[in-house]
Symmetry: C2
Subunit: 182 residues, 2 copies
C-alpha cells in the first residue's frame, strides 16, 4: 500500500514493494502471481479493512439519524487516518473505470459501490420507517452521499489547504441530516 500510494500503480516497482516489505523480489512472486494479482489482493484487503472500521464505529448504534451522522464522521476520520489508502484509490478508479471489457477490478469496484450504496440506503430507509427521515429515493440519496465523500477526499488530497476537514464535516453532516428531515 505504501509503495502504490507513493508512486501510483504503474510507476510502482515490484522491487520497491519487496524492499519495503524487507524481502527479496523473487519472494513476492511466491505469494502473488503477478503485479495485477498483488494489486487486486490489496484492493480486497483495503475494502475489508474499511468495512471493519465502519462496522466498529457503528456497532450498537440503532437510531438512523445518529448512524448517519456517525458514518459521515467516520468517513471524514478515514481521510486523515488513512491517507495512503485513498491515494491508492486513485488507481482503483483509474483502472476500474476504464475499458469495455470486464476486468476483475472493474467488477470488484462496481460490487463494492453497490454494497456501500445499499448499506447507506438501508440506514435511510430505516429512518423513513420510524419517521425520523423523509426521503423518496433512498438509493439515490445514498449514491449522492457516497459521491460527495469520494469527491471531498479527492479534492482534499489534491489540495490539503482547500478546506478545513472539521468545518467541512460539520457543515456537510448538518446539510445531509437537514435535507432528510420530514
Amino acid at each position: 500500500m505504501q509503495v502504490f500510494a507513493r508512486e501510483g500503480y504503474h510507476r510502482a516497482k515490484i522491487e520497491a514493494v519487496a524492499e519495503e516489505a524487507g524481502i527479496g523480489k523473487g519472494t513476492v512472486y511466491e505469494y502473488f502471481r503477478s503485479k495485477t494479482d498483488l494489486f487486486l489482493a490489496l484492493h480486497e484487503h483495503m475494502l475489508s479493512e474499511l468495512k471493519n472500521f465502519y462496522m466498529k464505529e457503528l456497532a450498537e448504534i440503532r437510531e438512523p439519524s445518529l448512524m448517519l451522522e456517525r458514518f459521515i464522521a467516520a468517513a471524514f476520520q478515514t481521510f486523515r487516518l488513512w491517507e495512503p489508502f485513498f491515494l491508492v484509490f486513485f488507481d482503483f478508479w483509474a483502472e476500474g473505470g476504464r475499458g469495455e471489457q470486464q476486468t476483475l477490478l472493474q467488477t470488484r469496484l462496481r460490487d463494492a459501490y453497490a454494497a456501500s450504496r445499499s448499506d447507506v440506503a438501508a440506514i435511510i430507509t430505516a429512518g423513513v420507517k420510524d419517521g425520523a427521515f423523509r426521503c423518496e429515493y433512498p438509493l439515490l440519496a445514498a449514491s449522492s452521499i457516497l459521491a460527495s465523500l469520494d469527491g471531498l477526499v479527492l479534492q482534499w488530497l489534491c489540495d490539503r489547504e482547500a478546506f478545513d476537514l472539521d468545518s467541512m464535516r460539520e457543515m456537510f453532516s448538518q446539510t445531509i441530516l437537514r435535507s432528510l428531515r420530514p
Copy 2:
C-alpha cells in the same frame, strides 16, 4: 484525448496518439517536447473547453438560484456528452493528487479547483446578498457541491447502471437548492 481516455496515461502510446491523429510518431515531437508535455497541454485545453461550455450555458442568467440550477444541469450534461473527457480526468487526479514535490500538473489542478470553488461560491454569495439563499460559508458549500459532482461522475463511470442520471440530477438539484433556502 481519445487515446488517453481509452488507455489511461501510462498505457497510452505516443504511436497510438500519432495514429489517431493521422500523423507519424516523430511529428508528435515536433509539437510537444514529451509525453508529459502533451498531457499537460491536453489538461489545459480540456479545462478551457469546460469553462467555455459553462460560460455559454450561464450567459445572460442573473438570478442566483437559476444560475445554480443551470450550472448543475450543465454539469450533468457534460457527464454524458463528454465521457472521454472525464475518463482522462481519472489520470489528472491520479497524477495530480500524488507526491510531495510540486509538479506542474499538481499546481494546475489545484488552481483549477480553487477557481471553480470561487466561481460557485460567488453565485451563492450573490444569492445570499439578494435574500434568495441563506448560507454561512459559501466556499465550503461550493467545495461540497463540486465534490458531489466529481464523485457522481466517478461513480457513474465505474457503473453506468448505478443510477439514472436524470433522476439523480433532479434530486440533487432540489436538495442543493432546498438546503440553501432561507
